[in-house]
Subunit: 257 residues, 2 copies
């Protein structure tokens, strides 16, 4: 049987401060936990109901797997729907300093706060082969359980570097790297020259790109709207916009080859 | 003061059955409620705290606005964060039968269940000027409060027709309209001829497009992945995929003009 203290400690990992203290985070649900197998992540312990252990445990070599009952797993889980497995996973330590490399397509997030959006954006970055995402320090934490859930495994394959974003972007600019930012009044992505790649900056859900980050942007772009202004939405959701812009860069860079 | 019964009735609108009985749904938060002004929606009643009434009430002509206190608004609201306005709105009755018209770009959803996804998709449809979305009967209800929230006003401007989707798509096919479906093994959207428009079908979050709907699809398309298969995510989120495909159609149709 699980001790009350262990349950309490796992639950505490919902909060960033306790994740930093323990150096671990939580991944839940069969789909997400199985994605750990396709990653470099190190698992500290898996808690699962007996049926899950019967079906999947043999795939996890050298991993501590603890059988728990249905009541215990519900106490460990932060999900509202029933779940049969919860893993405690070590937060990896990045091997190198954050940075923007010339010739690579890079994504930078300025104040993205919604965990569902961040998770969805990691999945998009992963899809387009973008291995590093830069994030301003006020972006939501990538090991928030809702981010891990929405990323569906991509949080284990895409590195997020929290950094002083205006400084990092200025450095990129001075290296001759184009820094693209999405604005309502930017130039259409259909007519902008995207063929040299660069950094794509996406802004906060409500306020867009901050003035500090704006100052470091060299190319203001926009996603064309197909609707008359009287009945158009104010904007697209930030994850939808990220998907469209990343796809457009990928399409253009791919045609160039 | 609000009666307990009125609070209970507003809360009951979280559930589809009670929305159908009362013919109303709930919209919450300043941003979403102000969007009602840009729509044809008829408001039954607005509940708001005095500060909200001071700031915004004069924009709502001929609308019943009831002042409530902070405790009451919290009881009315389904949101986890503080909210200062809740509106009860009439569900509009469509003037015409659902249908697919030749020459129009149309979006069809097959079993999209997550309210956040449906709301985000309505916002995308609105952005690209798609005025009607067809939905299979097992899609989540568009007047679910989480859909209304995620759509940020687009739920008031885009019509969703719940229908027998396989039948509707077969009829479209027989009228010579292309029916595009997204599949992992489809033809790249970069090389497919999208210039005649048609119907774009997006599938369920976990299972994609159902076999019944698959049978009615004439063109299997795919979003190219920029990542090697060993480290690629299984798929994109359905709202990300919808954003990319709608943008690609719009781009091609727009260049044609």
């Amino acid at each position: 049987m699980l001790s009350k203290n262990r349950i309490k400690q796992i639950n505490s990992l919902q909060i960033k401060k306790y994740r930093q203290e323990s150096g671990t985070f939580v991944a839940e649900g069969t789909k997400v936990v199985l994605e750990l197998l396709r990653s470099e992540m190190r698992i500290k312990e898996i808690f699962a109901v007996p049926e899950w252990i019967l079906s999947y445990a043999d795939r996890f070599k050298n991993t501590i797997i603890t059988a728990v009952n249905a009541v215990e797993i519900r106490k460990l889980s932060a999900m509202t729907t029933a779940c049969s497995v919860v893993a405690e996973v070590y937060i990896p330590k990045p091997a190198s300093k954050p940075g923007i490399r010339k010739g690579e397509l890079c994504l930078a997030l300025d104040g993205v706060r919604d965990p569902g959006n961040l998770g969805t954006i990691l999945r998009i970055a992963n899809w387009y082969g973008i291995s590093t995402v830069l994030a301003s320090n006020d972006c939501t934490d990538m090991y928030n359980p809702k981010v891990v859930q929405a990323a569906m495994g991509s949080a284990f394959r895409v590195r997020v570097d929290y950094c002083d974003l205006p400084k990092m972007l200025s450095e990129a600019s001075s290296m001759g790297i184009d820094v693209f930012g999405t604005f309502m009044d930017g130039e259409s992505i259909y007519s902008t020259d995207l063929s040299n790649g660069g950094v794509i900056v996406m802004g906060n859900e409500g306020h867009g790109i901050s003035s500090e980050v704006s100052a470091a942007i060299s190319r203001r772009i926009a996603i064309p709207c197909g609707c008359d202004s009287a009945s158009a939405p104010e904007s697209l959701n930030v994850s939808s916009a990220t998907a469209i812009v990343c796809n457009e860069f990928y399409r253009v860079l791919n045609q160039k080859k």
